[in-house]
Symmetry: C2
Amino acid sequence: MNDVKSLVKAKKNYHHGDLRGQLLEAVRELVERKGPDGFSIAEACRLAGVSTAAPYKHFTDRQDILRSAVLLAMERLYEAMKEAAKAHPPGDPARVAALGQSYVDFARSEPGMFRIMFGMTEGQEDCPKLTEVGECCKLLVEQVAGDHMGVPADHPAAVAWAYALWCFVHGHSFLQMDDKLAQKAPPEQEARMLQMVGEAMPNLS
Amino acid sequence: MNDVKSLVKAKKNYHHGDLRGQLLEAVRELVERKGPDGFSIAEACRLAGVSTAAPYKHFTDRQDILRSAVLLAMERLYEAMKEAAKAHPPGDPARVAALGQSYVDFARSEPGMFRIMFGMTEGQEDCPKLTEVGECCKLLVEQVAGDHMGVPADHPAAVAWAYALWCFVHGHSFLQMDDKLAQKAPPEQEARMLQMVGEAMPNLS
DNA sequence: GGTTGTAAGTTAGTGTTGCTTACATATGTA
DNA sequence: TACATATGTAAGCAACACTAACTTACAACC
């Protein structure tokens, strides 16, 4: 939406306000358009309207750029999940399904970034902020699972079911993205499946 | 095991027997060692001990090489799944779990290829052989699910559960590969989870 | 058994792309 | 005006995909 316009408009000045942010936005757009590998600093610069040397005043490295972009995406995902959880009261059966749905929706809306987030193999292990956000997501799922099952979030059963739920939506997200194997399931079936998994979780209270 | 030895031994002659096969093997090794993106024709040639121009006598293109390597991997996966299904009689509850286990084991043993197989975004759509093997895998899962549920493989419930099972093991495979989010689950827990999913499938006969 | 055709590999290059750095330059602020 | 910050210019360099033209080995055929 705001991609091209804001990019062009902001470039009127030598110092445009937020090159760092615009570069990350450009990375995101490139990754979505040309696939996870189709990103290069040079092209991101072209898109942002700056020289290829400019990024190095804001990032140390190519990896640094990617890491930062992934971190932003991770935060977007976490926000979406939090919103989904907040939309229903604890214990509501629809809450688990909504949480899963938010995850799948994110994967569908940003497949490129999603792939990088969970498929990066180079140098993201040593990024504490990234693992921190990931941990937050995990805790959120465990919390919702625990609420649903009537046990505290750190109960082994809640942890196990949270992981199972994650596996399910994660796999579904990937299979939807590369739809060669799985014919695109209609939204209703998707919702039904999520509901089914939610109902399979036992109530232990 | 046989990588280095066979590569060196076979290179004694100008025409070594099977450059095509060795290149594909080199691709596989590179992908495993340096990640899905860490593959290049040049490096595969270096590994196979031939010049960088040699591959073009066997493959038309870089994509052609990758596609062929992926096809081989897909066939390996199908073989593993078939073996797992053959190891138990139809209806045995352990059969579903074993099928899922074979999938997860494959992902763990060849994470790089697995990522490419299900993460490729460039030019694999138009490979009929690839989609054919994928279809075979899908049919196999549906067959096993149908046997387990006491309905034919093309029964809607069997198809739905087959897809759900696939989602589950697929997601688990990915989460295991990049283990930043999910702490590595011990094998016993993994087996228990697979069993749990299998037991959740209703018997409709 | 020599001739010859062909498949398979080699050498040497071309063109492109990308990451990164050293230095110059423009802009805003005190 | 002086300085700090932010960007541009230009270049180095490495890697890679792919091509063209030459060479080697093998095999089939007379």
